[in-house]
């Protein structure tokens, strides 16, 4: 049954290729895209169930024994993230037809979309560092394609910046892999972990670890590496923004989480403490950025930054509660960020502008949209009983257990700023006198609303129904704290 693990990569890959072949038959493409995404979600859910029952699935590709071939490792962490990815994807695929122009759809939007999912799933599932680089390139190339899709002046201008920064970090990535290979003689992550442990992460290894951190940190948009993120994320279509906001930075964070719980865990006093510092600055500058603008899309884009701040905080604190918090927050943020990007996309579409100063009283025309936004604001700010709260609570617990009072206070304050940044939109954009110049477009509003409701359902479920998920997350974090389990499952002698 271990071949299962390859399905979340192969299904979108085949879907993408297939849809490229029939890209002109747009109605068929739309239907198939929904079916394939749904199928992929179901398959992922099944794999998650299987992993829960029987433990990690280790797939040695081509039948080559690890560490010599490339392994795919569907452990609980990876598969949970794959499932979340597919939930987000499903919402986006339903949102897309209304949001995109027909030309954009015809010009392979769905192919790029599925390739992005392929890359993201692959990055989560692979157990090989160089293969991780390859999947990074797959998802980056798909994201390049999506960001320029049908773009004009501004979009092209911002795309260049996006591509350049990512190109730079990719080159750094591949070089760093080479350095690491030179020292440990392998690119299989489990074996790297084993060998790093053998020499107790001495010599140049910590330096290499920090370089890897910068590689992933650039993708994850951590301080002081996130400059490239906000603007390029808001220029493409909201669907693309939602995919980017939900998935791309998270792959970076996931990689940090993986590498610094599996491989480089022998000098936490240096590396992990450093992360806490990074987390503090990321939280502050991100939240400050979110307050700095009147562009509602940009507000949401900036909010990506403090969110990754929370996650790196959990990784830095590095105890069970904090790691659970980071993982919970990761899942929560994937969903809510997608929902928020879709929401502000809908608002901007319906109001005809994304400039908050020009929007008012939208609640008169679009009450449901307004309340969904209201709810999302609280979800994001971590107000109970929604998903953000559980993650935040665990992070606070973990932080205080380790005596990291300062970062906890920063985290609390930045929650307030996050709330403020979104409530500003609600108070100024939705409240107020009715703006009669806005024509009500019920049909569009409805097709925007359904995917958002779908996503928010999970946000509420993750909070109110935390009991359904938390034990699993807890087992993931205790698993991460014992990297031997991973190593043995891959390298079983």
């Amino acid at each position: 049954m271990s071949n299962l693990a390859v399905l979340p990569i192969v299904i979108p890959l085949i879907s993408g290729i297939l849809l490229a072949l029939i890209h002109k038959k747009i109605h068929l493409v739309r239907i198939l895209a929904k079916i394939f995404t749904g199928l992929n979600l179901i398959v992922s859910l099944y794999i998650m169930y299987d992993v829960q029952q029987n433990g990690s699935i280790v797939l040695e590709s081509g039948g080559w024994n690890s560490p010599f071939g490339i392994v795919l490792v569907a452990d609980l962490l990876a598969i949970v993230l794959v499932v979340t990815t597919n939930i987000v994807a499903l919402a986006c695929v339903f949102y897309a037809p209304k949001s995109l122009s027909k030309q954009q759809e015809e010009f392979y939007f769905y192919t790029f979309f599925f390739m992005l999912i392929t890359g993201v799933s692959g990055a989560f599932l692979t157990g090989d560092l160089f293969n991780l680089f390859v999947f990074f390139e797959v998802l980056l190339m798909a994201s390049y394609a999506l960001i320029v899709l049908g773009g004009g002046k501004v979009q092209l201008r911002e795309s260049i910046k996006y591509v350049l920064i990512n190109l730079f970090s990719s080159m750094l990535f591949v070089t760093t892999i080479a350095f690491l290979y030179s020292v440990v003689g392998t690119v299989n992550m489990a074996q790297i972990a084993e060998r790093v442990q053998e020499v107790d992460q001495k010599g140049i290894l910590t330096t290499i670890a920090i370089m890897l951190f910068f590689v992933f940190g650039t993708k994850a948009a951590l301080f002081p590496l996130y400059y490239w993120l906000p603007k390029p994320y808001i220029v493409p279509n909201p669907v693309v923004s939602a995919l980017f906001g939900a998935l791309l930075t998270k792959v970076g964070i996931y990689s940090i989480l993986r590498v610094f719980t599996l491989i480089f865990v022998h000098d936490p006093a240096f590396t992990h403490n450093f992360f806490i510092w990074i987390a503090g600055f990321t939280l502050i500058f991100g939240a400050v950025g979110a307050l700095s603008t009147n562009n509602i899309k940009l507000v949401v884009a900036y909010n990506i930054i403090p969110a990754v701040g929370f996650m790196i905080m959990g990784i830095g604190i590095y105890n069970e509660a904090a790691l659970s918090g980071a993982i919970y927050y990761l899942i929560h943020d994937m969903i809510i960020k997608a929902a928020l990007f879709l929401l502000v996309g809908a608002i901007a579409y319906l109001a005809g502008t994304s400039d908050l100063r020009k929007i008012r009283g939208l609640i008169h025309q679009y009450p449901l949209l307004g309340w969904l936004f209201f709810l999302s604001a609280f979800v994001l700010a971590g107000i109970p009983p929604f998903s953000g709260f559980i993650g935040k609570l665990l992070l606070l617990q973990g932080g205080l257990e380790s005596g990291e009072v300062v970062i906890v206070i920063i985290a609390l304050l930045s929650s307030l700023l996050i709330l403020l940044s979104l409530m500003r939109i609600f108070v100024r954009g939705f409240w107020g006198e009715k703006d009669d110049s806005i024509q009500v477009n019920k049909k569009a509003a409805q097709s925007f609303t359904i995917p958002v409701v779908f996503l928010l359902f999970f946000s509420v479920l993750l909070g109110v129904g935390a009991e359904l998920f938390y034990p699993m997350i807890e087992s993931i974090s205790s698993y991460l704290l014992n990297p031997e389990i991973y190593i043995e499952s891959v390298l079983k002698e």
């Binding site: 160089f130 070089t175 603008t293």
Partner: protein, 112 residues
Amino acid sequence: MEIIMSILAGILFTIGIYNLLQKQLLRIVIGTALISHGAHLFILTMGKLKRGAPPILEYGISEYSDPLPQALILTSIVISFGVTSLLLVLAYRASKENNTDNMDQLRGNENE
């Protein structure tokens, strides 16, 4: 020799980065190309240089150069090629659309 090659790759990175920090798009794209050359040279250097024969099995030879870095470089070259091509077309389109190839004029009003 490995040290000299490391230095050479470092120099390629240096000049690449220097070009990357320029305003004109062409220089910037050239910079990325130089950086990827540097990266590939680093990968090659990280396997040992000139130990043994080219990694094509021949009867009677037991020492071969490390084949893995070579395989990785091959993958990387192809990927870099894809990215560079895309970047080139993007750069061309962006500078045509915006009527400039100066990144300083391609800043945009960041927070609006």
